[in-house]
């Protein structure tokens, strides 16, 4: 079993992806946690821009991070699958190229939030993707996540007005 995801692993993603110029956003509960949502999750969900150039640099960044993709797996990522789940590296990573509930990467990027250099989906997009996925675990977490979104917005307005 891979190691637990922790702050150093988040930093490694940020640094490796920046080195290779990967366009990505933290999504899902892992994104919400970066924004300040107090909850638990098991892996990092990354929304990756689905362009050929971005997929190519993603493979290089993943190798830097210690993910050992076989030539066939790398070819699949390069070809552009919508969802790739990696448990063959130093930590677990979900790569999402077409999340439910979000039209395009460009739109999500327009709205995104930077948290200490980590690019994170706006809470509205995190909620939209969970609503569209509509899994049991999403439905359970949505009321509290929506309350967090409202709190986060209020605090953001308060801080910008200070």
């Amino acid at each position: 079993m891979a190691a637990r995801f922790d702050y150093p692993q988040a930093q490694e993603i940020r640094e490796a992806f920046a080195r290779h110029g990967v366009r990505y956003l933290f999504l899902g509960k892992s994104g919400a946690i970066l924004l300040g949502f107090p909850d638990t999750t098991q892996d990092a969900d990354l929304f990756i821009e689905k362009t050929a150039a971005n997929r190519a640099v993603l493979i290089e960044a993943l190798a830097d991070l210690g993910f050992t993709l076989t030539p066939e797996q790398a070819a699949e990522v390069r070809r552009g699958k919508d969802f790739v789940q990696l448990k063959n590296g130093p930590f677990d990573l979900d790569l999402i190229f077409a999340p439910d509930g979000i039209e395009t990467f460009a739109e999500a990027w327009e709205r995104h939030v930077e948290v200490e250099g980590f690019p994170v989906c706006h809470p509205d997009d995190i909620i939209a993707s969970k609503e569209a996925a509509n899994r049991v675990k999403d439905r359970e977490s949505l009321p509290r996540l929506k309350a967090f979104r409202d709190y986060w917005r209020r605090e953001r307005r308060r801080r910008s007005g200070e």
């Binding site: 969802f83 996925a133 899994r135 509290r144 309350a147 709190y151 986060w152």
Partner: protein, 77 residues
């Protein structure tokens, strides 16, 4: 949407959550990450080192068919 802080006073559940949000906001990001990412074994899901799906719909269908319902990855229990 609830943007009214007064409603927290009227809704005890919301007040409790907002107290948790405020406490989390006081913690550094590294601490928040440290205590939020956990590691437990998830049957079936954790039994392969690599999976890929052409579409999210295909992934959702795979979850429905293959994962124990109690993991919560399906649309119903």
């Amino acid at each position: 949407m609830n943007d009214n802080p007064q409603s927290a006073i009227r809704n005890p559940q919301l007040a409790e959550w907002e107290a948790e949000f405020a406490a989390a906001a006081r913690r550094p990001l590294a601490v928040r990450i440290h205590y939020s990412f956990i590691r437990t074994y998830k049957p079936v899901l954790d039994d392969a080192e690599y999976r890929s799906f052409e579409t999210m719909a295909e992934y959702r269908e795979w979850c429905e068919k293959n994962l124990p319902p109690w993991l919560g990855y399906g649309r119903s229990l």
